[in-house]
């Protein structure tokens, strides 16, 4: 098996999958680092990739592409009923009309929380996530506890996030099993009347757009 040859014996990053990030095993981590560097060297020498282009990708996700994009879209929808309508009809198209948010790819679907229905997004099979709106997904989104439980015990998952919803609220879980991507449009919290779009964007957390949290208004 090709795999066996390419991998050394006991090279495990224990703990990551569980959301912890103690560097409890420096020798293993540095071994991975060396192996990744070796592969990059090979790909570069073969002319497959230009390392400067890789730098640019990394930098974009570290500095430009994050949940602020989604938060702006949510704040806009909270203050502009026509935009909200367009967003729920075709999110990719509606967001394309906004100058201050980067263009998003096809197949984005916005789903609206209401007093009756709470939406939650998961990808049980891998890690599908609306990168352009929320940046790269957090470790917990990609890890087994969330992926396994979200479709069967979403209220238990919400409890892990400290969120409790009324029993009568319908929980609507969207499993991202194809190239469609989902963005939750949370409910605008009470007490935010008259706030500007910028102020509103500040309270839209990443988790509120995944459905594992709610917008945060400081008391």
């Amino acid at each position: 098996m090709t795999y066996i040859t390419a991998m050394s014996g006991h090279d495990h990053d224990h703990g990551h999958e569980h959301g912890h990030h103690h560097d409890h095993d420096h020798s293993e981590l540095s071994e991975t680092q060396l192996r990744v560097r070796a592969l990059e060297t090979i790909l570069t020498e073969k002319g497959y990739v230009d390392p400067k282009a890789l730098d640019a990708i990394v930098e974009a996700y570290e500095t430009k592409i994050g949940p602020r994009n989604g938060a702006k879209v949510v704040a806009k929808a909270w203050t502009d009923p026509a935009f909200k309508k367009a967003l729920l009809e075709d999110a990719s198209k509606a967001i394309g009309t906004l100058g201050h948010v980067s263009r998003v790819g096809d197949h984005l679907i916005a789903v609206e929380n209401t007093p009756k229905t709470h939406n939650m997004i998961v990808c049980t099979l891998c890690s599908c996530y609306p990168w352009e709106m929320l940046g790269l997904p957090p470790v917990w989104y990609k890890a087994a506890p969330y992926r396994s439980r979200a479709v069967k015990d979403p209220r238990g998952v919400l409890a892990d996030f400290g969120v409790t919803l009324p029993k009568e609220t319908e929980i609507r879980v969207w499993d991202s099993t194809a190239e469609t991507r989902f963005l939750v449009l949370p409910m605008r919290p009470a007490g935010t009347e008259g706030w500007s779009e910028e102020q509103l964007a500040e309270i839209v957390t990443r988790d509120s757009m995944i459905g594992t949290g709610l917008p945060k208004v400081s008391a």
Binding site: T32, E62, V104, D106, H107, A144, A178
Partner: protein, 220 residues
Amino acid sequence: MNGVHDMGGMDGFGKVEPEPNEPTFHHEWEGRVMAMVRAIGANGGINIDMQRFSRESLPPVVYLESSYYKKWFLALQRSMLERGMVGKDEIEAGRSLRQNPPLKRGTFSMSDVQRIMTRGSFRRDPPAPAAFALGERVRTKNINPVTHTRLPRYARGHTGTIERINGCHVFPDTSARGEGDNPRWLYTVVFSGRDLWGDDADPMLKVSIEAFEPYLEKLR
């Protein structure tokens, strides 16, 4: 394939543990892996379905205990080895030992970066009209291919409702095998929690999957 990656509805993995102020990457190498996967995916002919299948095909224990980008790295390296794009001897030597044909779209360079910052479209022209209508009750098939599929085990053999018709998309099951786009209609199919998990399920739970037309059959 019925791999450990297909974990919807499984028990025993413990609590969700969000990390406060999580960084984009926990190690410098994670960013490099992410960028290499994107670059080779964009220019190299290893499409997203092939990459997913490669990750799913990691040995189960490796899949479960490796960190996310570690899986990406192992699967990328494996995919490239399988396709002869790099050699075992090169991996061991840590450098290129021979010339290879260039990537299909050439070296991934600065001019390619902007293109991949926006996801490509998977929509394709429909080969036929959609077989199912909005609101129609359908049954998911019981399929168990050893190859890549996007119909999760927990949603096989269940009755649901067509809630959205999302156009006609590249079909992952065949795309992962290098058989081209083979476009198929894509639907959002919603199930009641009780249908999926039995009478003890939360009565207020609904779960949808994104289901390609070949996954569905008419209710008999």
